[in-house]
Amino acid sequence: MENTVSIFLFGKKYEVPDNLTIMTAMEQVGYVLLRGCGCRNGFCGACATFYRINDDKPQVCLACQTKVQDNMHIAALPSFPLKKQIYNINEISPDETVMMQLYPEIYNCIGCNLCNTNCPKGLDVKAYIESAKNGDFKRCAEQSFECVMCGACASRCPAGISQPQVAMLARRINGKYLSPESKHLKDRIKEIENGDFSELIESLMQKPIEEIKELYNNRKIEK
């Protein structure tokens, strides 16, 4: 027999099987999801959801990744107005001055820790903002890497910081300006531009299928 639990969707009570996620429970009771549903696998941040069990403190989760529990009071946060600055990635200066220009409110962080307690991915949001303040974008990028940009942190921030957008900028700076260049990549691109592989590809294009099968079935596989 299936066990059921009582949940409250936007205040309304439903009995649902206890093995469902919040998202599948909503669907089972009849919601046709449009907002608040995306990849259904914890990567896209569409389904940030607040819930409260009894009188405990409210929690934040991703609805697609969280099982229902008894007495769960649930409200979705399908969208939050983040501050997103417009910039040209090719023209910014990859140091702390860019943060001062674009997202100066990070310097108003009071260290209240609400961003951390409201991150459904359990990231150390406060720490990555600290790294951004210090101009350590490599560290900020690493600390924020698993951010799904749901905006739950920003929704509770008393300083009005849009943490996900700060981290987005830091990661782009890291990827473009700070990570070491790949010599083998540049070399290969040069070889291709020189046409070093044109003839070989051209010959593969013309070869009879049987000959290609032979080549494929006997190719060496790197260990």
Partner: protein, 540 residues
């Protein structure tokens, strides 16, 4: 919250643990091409004829396609042509891009680069796509022991020698430059301090050419592309789907009928060129399989194109990713990245035996798992279904402690939520519907082979990979062909003066259905799956 494996499963788990050392040391044989062909014919879902139907009308009349796809291809339009006024478009644009995933975003960036006025419409949010869920990586032959032709050979063979060669050549030839293009936008890749890319194998690769950003490769690419689209202030209309293509009197693509997903309001978009970048079809749940795909993956682009007369290619071939989660039920069908096997995890049956080389191509590995769980009766019973073990603790033994946290943190997190520590315990997997190998037929310039000024990019395009795609060639494909589609659509747009618009193809299609004796209540594109009231047991 804590799930432990049942006693019965634990018995099998003990055998897996007992055999682990030995299994790590042994290198399973790779199958011969004959063995592979026999296995596929007997156990791969693409060969299960009862789930296929023959198209009765349209450019692919006579072709076999999945039953569920036949139903939406041979369906009614969501609109009556005379219910919209084509003489008063709601807006005009040079390039109209349908779909806001990876291919759509890339196409928008390149079309914008070329000076075109660009509009993206997307039925959900910008970035909602299978791209954002791609975990394992992106291929490029950029190491000294590798080359574009080796990449070509791997992909051509892996796709059963069916790829359109000119498309595949374009894919591999542009791969290294694609990686650099992404880096210049700020996409991060795993590399060592000297700048050497940390690359691994994928199933069916003969060189280690899988580039990755941990196991968030697609998410890292997609969020960067989205940020760039916003920075360029490209016009994006969210929660708006395309429900019909609009043609001009010459039969060329000239816009689309759009529908606001929240209000149902229709709009007419007039465009000099149109790019379909609507993605895949996992939410069609072919043959009742669960899927690793995004909520919006409902084959819309195939319907839009086919009704207007665009030819399809290889849509009878679907990719079932070998390792979807089989347990716990809450994550049934969720992707367990192939990178787990690239890093050393092997597939093991209920007796603890390795039954297939972990890096065969996806279709072969999938068929091997299905055989193991059915004919061989060696699957682990997990309640609603069966599964095989993916012995993830091998990764830590081979790569050292901390490898899982460093290289596949999303997988660690996904199972941790349910009390399973994949560093210490193996996981149960079964194939999940993952990718649409075929799609709309295109030429080298990404233009539909049937409709002028209609471009196609991303998963909705067919022919690039043949009948099976290798890991890491899809993220590559969306960038290479997205860029090409965007640049070409912008360039052609410059030469076009639009004339009168028409939806006459809808009536023509209705007539064809009638004379072919097709009676159906189906209306398409589907736009969203219906999971209300538990209509689909495979939902998750």
């Amino acid at each position: 919250m804590h799930h432990t494996y049942s006693e019965k499963i634990k018995e099998s788990l003990k055998l897996v643990e007992a055999m682990r050392e030995k299994n790590i040391m042994s290198e399973p044989n790779r199958m011969t091409s004959e063995q592979k062909n026999n296995l596929l014919a007997s156990f791969h879902p693409d060969y299960n004829e009862k789930y296929f139907d023959t198209l009765k009308i349209g450019p692919n009349k006579g072709d076999r396609v999945p039953v569920e796809l036949a139903n939406i291809l041979q369906s009614h339009s969501r609109i009556k042509p005379d219910s919209v006024d084509l003489t008063k478009p709601d807006f005009e644009t040079d390039v109209l891009i349908i779909g806001g995933g990876g291919a759509g975003a890339v196409a928008a960036i390149e079309a914008n680069n070329a000076g075109a006025n660009v509009t993206i419409v997307t039925k959900l949010r910008m970035g909602d796509s299978n791209t954002i869920m791609a975990e394992g990586g992106i291929q490029a032959a950029d190491k000294p022991n590798d080359s574009p032709e080796i990449h070509f050979l791997d992909a051509f063979g892996g796709g059963h020698f069916a790829a359109k060669r000119e498309l595949l050549a374009k894919l591999v030839y542009n791969a290294p430059e694609t990686i650099l293009w992404l880096e210049k936008l700020g996409v991060e890749f795993d590399k060592d301090d000297s700048g050497d890319m940390s690359t691994t194998h994928g199933g069916g690769t003969s060189r280690k050419r899988m580039h990755a950003a941990k196991d968030y490769t697609g998410a890292e690419i997609m969020r960067t592309l989205r940020d760039e689209v916003i920075n360029r202030q490209i016009n994006v209309i969210e929660y708006t789907s395309a429900i019909e293509l609009v043609l001009d009197k010459k039969g060329n693509a000239a816009g689309a009928i759009l529908m606001n997903m929240e209000s149902g309001k229709l709009m007419v978009a007039k465009a000099k060129t149109v790019i379909i970048a609507t993605g895949g079809a996992g939410r069609m749940h072919y043959q009742g399989f669960p899927t690793s795909n995004h909520y919006g993956a409902t084959a819309d682009g195939l319907v839009l194109g086919y009704r207007a007369g665009a030819k399809l290619i290889y849509v009878e071939t679907l990719q079932y990713h070998p390792t979807g989660a089989a347990y716990p039920n809450q994550i049934l069908g969720s992707l367990v990245t192939e990178k787990a096997r690239s890093l050393g995890a092997k597939l093991v049956n209920k007796k603890g035996e390795v039954f297939v080389h972990p890096l065969e191509t996806r279709d072969v590995t999938t068929a091997a798992i299905i055989r193991e769980c059915s004919a061989c009766d060696n699957g682990v019973d997990v309640g609603d279904c069966r599964g095989a073990w993916l012995d993830t603790p091998m990764i830590e033994k081979i790569g050292g402690e901390g490898t899982i946290q460093k290289r596949i943190p999303a997988m660690l997190r996904m199972f941790q939520k349910y009390g399973i520590d994949i560093r210490k315990e193996p996981i149960l997997v079964y194939p999940t519907l993952h990718y649409q190998n075929g799609g709309l037929d295109i030429d080298e310039n990404c233009m539909s082979t049937s409709i002028n000024n209609l471009f196609v990019a991303g998963e909705v395009a067919g022919g690039i990979h043949g009948k099976n795609r290798l890991m890491g060639n899809s993220l590559l494909d969306i960038i290479v062909f997205g860029r090409s589609a965007g640049a070409n659509a912008a360039s052609i747009a410059k030469q076009i003066t639009l004339g009168e618009l028409t939806l006459s193809h809808i009536e023509k299609y209705e007539e064809e259905m009638l004379s072919a004796g097709i009676t159906t209540s189906a209306v398409a594109p589907k736009l969203l799956p219906d999971y209300t009231n538990n209509k689909k047991s495979t939902q998750k």
